[in-house]
Amino acid sequence: MRLIPCLDIRDGRVVKGTNFVGIRDAGDPVELARFYDTEGADELVFLDITASHEGRPAVIDLAEKVAREVFIPFTVGGGLQTVEDIRAALLVGADKVSLNSAAVARPELVRESAEMFGAQCVVVAIDAKQCGESWNAFVHGGRKDTGRDVIEWAQEVVKLGAGEILLTSMDGDGTRAGYDLDLTRAVSEAVDVPVIASGGAGHAGHMVDAVREGRADAVLLAGILHDGVARISDLKSEMAAAGLRIRSTNRS
């Protein structure tokens, strides 16, 4: 069971997250990453939402800065379109890449990158929204419905070589009312790779539910951490107290 803070980055700065004690510059991704590392984060995810420009995706430069300073695994996503982009991100120290719209636009990218660099570094991010009795995958920051069923899409990308699914409930995102357990469980039971639950975390109990009932292998956190509502060290203590096997906070 892993606890993974997610940082949204735009133009080299963290978009959300200012209410920290003891941080000089909460807008600096590296500073924030270091903070989360000492707090006991198991991994980090950086999603660059800078509008794509031509040439080298900005997230590659970010990956290099993070890798110089932080010695826990991290994933980068946003603007990675080609195998060459992915190679560049991995070579500067990213452990995994997260593919979303690019995978929908060209599913072969998942296969090519998994064959080239190994399934363990290919995360496919799926933004899911309830449509009647099931869920559809959305892209472009949730603005565009692909018309694809989330379960089928998850199974397809795993067949192509994805080593992990980052599953965000768009309905739950930002509500702090808990992860979508039905969605998480449905996807987790449909694939044989780890699933990271995302969207809706409000407190440690939600994270315990995501693992126990949702069968998630990891949980992603953003809002409650960035707003200073919760601390990783406290969340982990509560999860451990609930009986989950979790790495305790880093010794310093």
Binding site: D42, F71, G93, D192
Partner: protein, 209 residues
Amino acid sequence: MNLTLIDYGTGNLFSVRRALEVCGANIRVIHHPNEAKNSDRLVVPGVGAFGSCITELHRLHFNDAIKEHIATDRPFLGICVGMQMLMTTSYEFGQHSGLNLIPGTVQEIPNRTDSGEVRKRPHIGWTSLSEGQPWSNTILSQTTKDDRFYFVHSFSVVPDNPAHILALTDYDGHEIVAAVKKDNIFGTQFHPEKSGPAGLAILKQFLSL
């Protein structure tokens, strides 16, 4: 003391280099086997598929350089696939010959638990280690049973001789060889360069052997 890091195109080279740097190593990154001579320490990182890694290692003729280094009795460290390549044979996507420096195989983690539940792969996560051979005077001499290390893999090594197992870990009821040791050869399945302070402590220990 100089440490040599072999660059054969593997993805985690940068991270391993940075981690060793903050541990105080004086590092040379080499691209040619001749440069491996007279190294006090040799490190081979590795991620991805066994087949492509060993193919590149051979294509760049690093296999003999590694064997020559090991014959000098100076410490060697292989990380993840860099460790798996020390074995005799890997069964990842077909069958591949390794360097045969530690007799044994590289095998897939079973995808079912003993009770028939799905065991997800890759195995991704932080787990603690238990002792194989004694940890004193090894890379794990500063490691405690509470320390956890970052694993990300679907295959793991099975040495023929249990005496070559330095540490074990558990994944969903499956025993995984987490570290190996044979004379001056060390290998870790986990990533010390990505395991926070506990991982850096292992790299420091490797430097001070």
